[in-house]
Amino acid sequence: MNFHYSAAHLIGALVLLLGFQLLYQRRIAAVIRSFAVQAAALALAAAWQAYIQDSPHLYITAAIALVFKAMIVPFALNWLVVRLGIHKTVETALGIGPTMMIGVALVALSIVLVLPVTQNASALTRENLALAMSVVLLGLLMMITRRNAVSQVVGFMALENGLILAAVGVKGMPLVVEMSIAFSVLVAMILFGIFFYRIRERFDSLDLHYLESFRGER
């Protein structure tokens, strides 16, 4: 049991660490690759939970995470970047340093919040929930500190990763919930793809800054 707990904790922490890694990438391609690694770590976490909870349906979750989030989505994003000839650097709205510091603060906040609230739950669930919430908040942080539409989409996907991490850690979460999350991500991916095309067509850039000036607000 102790080993189960340590390993689950380790994998969860790995997902969180990769969430931080997403924050300091300066190139789009690196962002996408980090995301793929995070999704793979997530699949590992799901598979490990399937093993220790002895609930086979979580293997399906793991498979979905591995196939869709770690392979298809990054591939599609890469393809889009190449195809659309998107600017290869990440435009930040807030410097890397401050962003990292805020990220650390967010992790601290979620630990402060989650640990006392879930005193009745098992230690594994508590730690897992705190990690998952940190990942969600980091995803949200990424969405607001990056100008580029591709980074925002990756931030959104990272946020979803956090949700799934929370879902697999709780015993008895029905498969249908995880399936629907996975498919909603896919649908969102398709929508974003279309969205990229439209923006690109009109502004020759995916920097949302142009969109703002088009709306006459700057």
């Binding site: 906040l109 919040l113 949200l140 942080l141 969405m143 607001i144 949302l208 969109l211 703002e212």
Partner: protein
Amino acid sequence: MKTLAAQALIAIALLLVLCPLAILGHRLKAIHALVYGAATLISIHLAGLGVMGLLDGDAIGSAGVTLPIGLPWLRAHFRFDALSALFLVVVNLGTTAASLYGIGYGGHLAHPNRVTPIYPLFLAGLNLTLLADDAFVFLIGWEFMSVSSWLLVLADHEKPENREAATTYLVMAVLGSFCLLGAFGVLAMNGEDYSFAAMRGAVLDTVEVTLLVGLVLIGAGSKAGVVPLHAWLPLAHPAAPSHVSALMSGVMTKVALYGLVRILFDLNRQADWEWGALLMLLGAATAVLGILYALMQTDIKRILAYSTVENVGVVLLGLGLALAFRASNEPALAALALAAGFYHVLNHAAMKTLLFLGAGAVAATTAERNIERLGGLIRLMPVTAVTFLIGSAAISALPPLNGFVSEWLILQTLFKAPSLPMWTMKFGAPVAGALLALSAALAAACFVRAFGIVFLGRARSPATLDARDPDPWMRAALILTAGLCLLLGILPVTVTSMLSDVSQSLIGVDLSESIIQGWPWLAPVSAARGSYSGTVVVASGLLMILVTAIVIKGFGTRKIRRAPAWDCGHVEDNPATQYTASSLAQPLRRVFGTSLFAAREQVEMPMPDEIAPARLSVRVIDPVWQGLYAPAIRAVDWLANRINRLQSLTVRRHLLLMFLTLMVMLVLAAIRRMLT
């Protein structure tokens, strides 16, 4: 007792069924009479259930009914106790009269199909609120009541002032419900669910009690028309068809007071005496301001609506007194004050229904609501005039009618308040008593004016010339309510003994201690301080009339003497030279209105060579509207303009906003956790 609750629920379900029936049969001419007839029968049934509940003391503490409606894990709880029984009687006496009136009246409205289907929904909402035993059912009933009455106010939406009234009403109703929701939230804060049973056990700290009383006062007070939240009431009540106005004024305000009593006397009994003092202050202010407003009006239905504000103030005064007595460990006096308040609730429901129905009869036959253009109707509409006179006398607190008994009881109880140890009460209670007496006197002036201008004198405009009494159904409703006013006044001890159970259930003490002498003498506090019997007053009055008649018949001279007729002081044969509503109210307007309402009179005299009439114009400003509502409207406008800018933020900033909100909430949660 379970059967009583179940029967009442079945009756409510029948009322709900009437709505689709009325819609399906909207082409039939007879459908209106049918629906109102059915509503009358159901109302009589519900009132009967209420009376049975009041007579049968076992009602208290009985098990409720739980229906599997609503969210699966919540279900709907209903309960029938002494308090609901009393208010079922109050509500359904009013709805019986109004529905009876509707049989004749409902089909002849301008747009009957806008009213008939919604009317039973309104009745269902009123009754549902009274039977609720959890916050959800209560609020659903409350909202049913608000929304259906809002639709009824909108029945004649071609007139812009009606639309405006309906909008004001809706805004106030939403505010009220929102506050009540908050109040229930405070009550359920420490309990496990929203059922009233769980709320009764909750123990709140001082801050929570403050929050609770404040929210209840705004929530229920805005519905009842407590100053300064009354502004919608005189707009919305007159805008609805008359039988609905009667219900809104006579009954719906009582349901609001029921909410107040339910929360402050039943669900939570922790409110301290300061809150009682506040309620008394608000009640006294509401009573005096309400009746002063009424004196400034010339629209008959608006006069009645403002008079409702006054009477709500009187009841609130009684409830505040009960709260203060309860908090200072005087349960017998608290029970008496509460019973006095309930007595006035019952009385006002009867007399205000009567007056509104009478006003409706006048408005229907003359198509005129401005009393300056009415006059001399007593000869053309004798039944309406006599019943309206009975209602006016009752609401002016004249013995032997019912209004006197309850106001006298409240005053008698108020005289005991200086014996409380608090200096605020020692000095405040006499002031409240003086204000109550003032409001009763002003009410008499107001209804002398209303009755005199409408029914006496000579016709002031051609509108009144072919007025006649309404059809038998409407006459029956008028006579029924007038008889009720008389009965409630003549048999005070019977009524108070019925109210005894209610006090017992809320305060824990019945009225046997406070009402000392037996039937027919009503002697609150002590027989030496004052006792009253409507029965004896009526009996001795009748006896004196009999004696006088015998004396005149027996000893009077039969010689006929001829003399010129007195012409009542009329110099000129022009109806315009009579007293008008405005001239009758002028002295009072000058005394009270000059400072309170900034009333100013302006005389425009024509130049000596001009051929133009001189004009006297009066300008009255509502200080509450100017001081409270107008700034609130401006603030909302300003805020809406500010918020409007958020509409055009960028995607990233929208996200940032969400992120920051989330952060603030999370940090607050973290801080709260650390503190506890």
